[in-house]
Symmetry: C2
Subunit: 344 residues, 2 copies
């Protein structure tokens, strides 16, 4: 197994990416390829490096804020492009990057191509829950999703949850603003309708309101990529707001300062549940190759975990399972249902 | 000043509504009318009731989960309808309800009518921030908003923030998935364009990502009502998840249990920042009358605070300020800009 890592991706690249890859090298079964300006990367590596870590040269770098389309076109030898190319050319099984996520998704879709029966690949992010994680998708690969795209997300999310969370017949919910089928914007209402059809490829449990995202008993939550991305970042922001508020408020008296000190282990455990560094990266589901999209602010631990996510996805055969599930679905849909879905 | 309160609205009505109204009666300068089945309400009131609290009879009740349109039609004498009618007929200055919010908004729009230059009234909710509150709108009065509706929200939000938060030239941001103008779904991108036009009636500071909702230095955040409602509820859910997680984790050892006990004052202060009971209710901006929409799970304190929100809105002349601001905007927009806005 070979995992290609974009060494220049992320706010603190390449230093933290190299550190994360070194950390991961001792844990993965397989090889890690660090992609970026070779000389610069070699200087960051220790004299005695792990035998399963090597460097692939890529002289150009795509900045975090560059326009994806333009950057990909003008920088054919960027670390991100070369990372994805390694997967396309069969030289690596997975690509990991904390860099410009728009450019990463653009490259993944154009170079690796969407899988059969997938019109829109989607980003799947694990979210915590009281009795176990759930998968949120799409967390930002798409905007202006059509209802049928959301059905695809539901199927891909369910297959992924079955494998990654070990859930039999994952329960899939649709993020909306009320439980009734009539609630939501036009695209959500139509997606609800499609997900309730006999051909719907998942165990659809209905709409889920925002306050149930982390508390309800579901395995997969689907949404348009715009909504999913806003929600993912709001979750991050609220957690940060509360934990920082707690720190600030606790500092105000000796009593609460002491309390905070004693509570530290509990605080740390809660904090970790919503810490992206802990889950490492999100999978881009629906392209021909394993792609792990990491947070731009990833630290070394996040990069290491992202590489481990990639390893598990390759070893677990996520791509093969998705291909199989999508094929089975396509075969069972009746003509009239297919028509309804295709025009939605 | 007269405030009409739907006594039958909310999960724990009429008991908590009556309790909340009694609590508010000693604080408001003006009269409170409790609207609902008179006999039932009279039985809940103490023998010696406040002189500024009276009951108006309304025999019917609209359930929390009833279809708004159908319920309004089939129950002309519902507590909610009579509450709104009192405002329409000039017998009350404001309407407060924790009941079926869809039915409340439907009644408000049909009976009180949108103000001049407003095509879509919007729900404005205060959200906490490190250096003071900000206003989020629309928090769920609309779905499938058009770009020009979002410009209306921006103007109404800015006028409201100026008055309610005491901000001069409020800074208005657009919720999206990236800071660049090109980020977001179609409607958001177009709204960004309109908000940047010379005629735009607000100080537009650009896009805001979800993680900045509670941390960035803005006064007003605008979004489509679907997104705004999901975000509002996700905020509630994440706060609950973290605080419950903290309670559960703290219970695991003597050390952390003691810590939690000592930290209680700090925990309570942080919790209050995101507690809807503390802000009481959200204003429906853009209709001819003050309407305060409260959370269905409101307790007596929330109802009392909602009545105080209504009082401040009436006393502060929110409606008059909005009318004036909307008029000024309409007068300054050039023909070509107006055309661009109207067709968006």
């Amino acid at each position: 197994m070979v995992i290609a890592v974009d060494a220049m991706g992320g706010d603190a690249a390449p230093e933290v990416v190299v550190a994360g890859a070194l950390e991961a090298a001792s844990q993965v079964r397989g090889e890690i390829i660090l992609v970026g300006p070779a000389e610069r990367l070699e200087r960051l590596l220790p004299a005695k490096r792990p035998p399963n870590l090597r460097v692939a040269d890529a002289p150009q770098v795509i900045g975090m804020d560059e326009d994806p389309g333009r950057a990909v076109k003008s920088k054919p030898d960027s670390s991100l492009a070369v990372t994805v190319n390694l997967v396309r050319d069969g030289e690596a099984d997975a690509a990991v990057s904390a860099g410009n996520s728009g450019a990463f998704m653009f490259l993944a879709q154009v170079r690796l191509r969407p899988m059969a029966h997938v019109s829109r690949p989607a980003i799947a992010v694990p979210m915590p829950g009281p009795r176990g994680a759930r998968i949120l998708l799409d967390a930002g690969a798409n905007v202006d999703c059509r209802p049928r795209h959301i059905v695809e997300f539901a199927l891909m999310g369910a297959i992924y949850a079955e494998y990654a969370l070990g859930r039999k017949n994952p329960r899939v919910a649709l993020l909306s603003i009320g439980e009734e089928a009539c609630k939501g914007d036009e695209s959500t209402r139509k997606a609800h309708e499609l997900l309730q059809m006999p051909s719907a490829p998942v165990d659809f449990v209905g709409n889920l309101e925002g306050n149930g995202l982390l508390s309800s008993d579901v395995d997969v939550v689907v949404a348009d990529g715009f909504v999913g991305n806003v929600v993912l970042k709001v979750t991050e922001g609220v957690a940060q707001f509360l934990l920082e508020g707690l720190r600030r408020e606790a500092a105000r008296s000796l009593r609460t300062r002491l309390g905070a000190l004693l509570m530290r282990p509990a605080l740390r455990r809660v904090k970790r549940q919503l810490d992206y560094a802990d889950y490492g990266g999100a999978l881009l589901l629906g392209v021909n190759g394993i792609c792990v999209v990491s947070h731009g602010r990833s630290n070394a631990r996040a990069i290491c975990n992202a590489i481990l996510v990639a390893q598990r996805a390759v070893a677990g055969g996520v791509r093969e399972r998705l291909a199989e599930g999508l094929e089975r679905w396509a075969a069972t849909v009746t003509d009239s249902e297919s028509l309804a879905t295709q025009t939605a």
